[in-house]
Symmetry: C2
DNA sequence: CGCTAATCTAGAACAAGTTTCAGACTTGAT
DNA sequence: ATCAAGTCTGAAACTTGTTCTAGATTAGCG
């Protein structure tokens, strides 16, 4: 049975591990632990890429990442935590990718819409993964708030980046929040087959008009 | 153990029961079946009003509504189906209530915002119930699409009612869809404690501006 | 080296959603 | 009144998320 029992650890130490994105202050992980965490996230994304939310089964994740079930739960206290962390991971990657080629639109609204559509196209390439991540995100309860918030901040950063707005006004931030709402909800309707890709595009473009409404001067 | 086994049925007949809202064409239910359906929905709402999503446990719903577990599943093929049907039920009620006192705002945007805030206040009175319904709604997968769509149509009807708009343009319908997106997503952030009531209010008011953007002439 | 605390592992156990089944009851038709 | 089909019940079984436990391993430290 021990398919992965021959890892032979060498370092460890912290008491509580939690899901982080980049490097917020927290108990530092040893490289071995960092490697475990990475294996877990990789397995999670991999399983999600096939069957979506349902295909990410904790026992399978544990096995694929060569970690005991109990250990998996020590790293990620629930399936939702795991998938939200997976999303953090993917989002980071996405943000990096998007940064490289900034959108071309004239107005801030156009640039934001273009950026979101770019992200959308990326998600379309892995619809099952998108399903798992988005479903987890919206299903998350209070116990996952910090992690979901982190995802939200990351998303906000991406949008603000696209706007090219250094210090947005409160009004603009409201618009950005509404855009995020629309983004998540539109993804859900698409993932559950209740809206077409074209529909999502229209919704995004529609909501992005709010930006021009709150920030007449593009640059 | 048979706590509810003494009902002694007298009528029945259809083969497949599905969740409906008002009266779409489908296998007509006998009064006895209609009564069962009603008991189930009532139990569902009751349990949801306490602990929210998690408190709605299928075994408990079955027991509270004096129906065998298998029967519950015949009426509602999953917990999600049940909760979405519960939402349909509540929404209908809500729509009736809202109809009575139409919003007072000058512009369509104001009226819609006022209506949604009214609905929001109603939800605040039963936050657990709101939690159960909204979580189910956004977590629903393709197998629940018809029912979720029905909820969506009902919501759209409420918003169009508030707009006082008889035959909306495609642009306006887009705006309405975006408003619904924002509505759902904002509710979620509130329910999971990531946004305050005030925050939700702002988001609603912000997104409602889109209406004036697409329909300059109020009436 | 030898000790102590923390971590990891394998596996059992538990909880709640879902499925399945045999049998009792109802219904509608003959 | 009787029969065939469909429905409901009670209970067990199965699935997957989550928790718990005992023991092996490792790390940090004198």
């Amino acid at each position: 049975m021990p398919a992965e029992a021959k890892v032979s650890a060498k370092v460890n130490k912290p008491a509580k591990v939690e899901a982080r994105a980049a490097a917020p202050a927290s108990p530092p992980l040893t490289e071995r632990q960092e490697a475990r965490r990475r294996r877990i996230l990789h397995a999670s994304a991999q399983l999600a890429s096939r069957g979506g939310f349902d295909a990410v089964q904790m026992r399978e994740v544990a096995e694929s990442s060569q970690v005991a079930l109990g250990t998996l739960y020590r790293y990620f206290p629930s399936k939702i935590h795991l998938l939200v962390a997976t999303m953090q991971d993917q989002l980071e990657h996405m943000h990096g990718t998007l940064r490289k080629k900034p959108p071309q639109g004239e107005t801030a609204a156009e640039r934001v819409a273009e950026t979101l559509m770019r992200a959308f196209r990326a998600l379309q390439r892995e619809p099952h993964l998108a399903d798992a991540m988005v479903r987890a995100l919206t299903f998350a309860d209070r116990s996952v708030s910090p992690e979901v918030d982190q995802v939200s901040r990351q998303t906000t950063a991406i949008i603000l980046d696209a706007m090219g707005q250094e210090n947005p006004t409160p009004e603009q931030l409201s618009a950005v929040r509404v855009i995020e709402h629309t983004w998540h909800s539109a993804l859900i309707t698409w993932l559950s087959g209740r809206a077409s890709i074209a529909q999502v595009k229209i919704d995004i473009e529609t909501v992005c008009r709010l930006i021009d409404l709150t920030a007449p001067a593009p640059r």
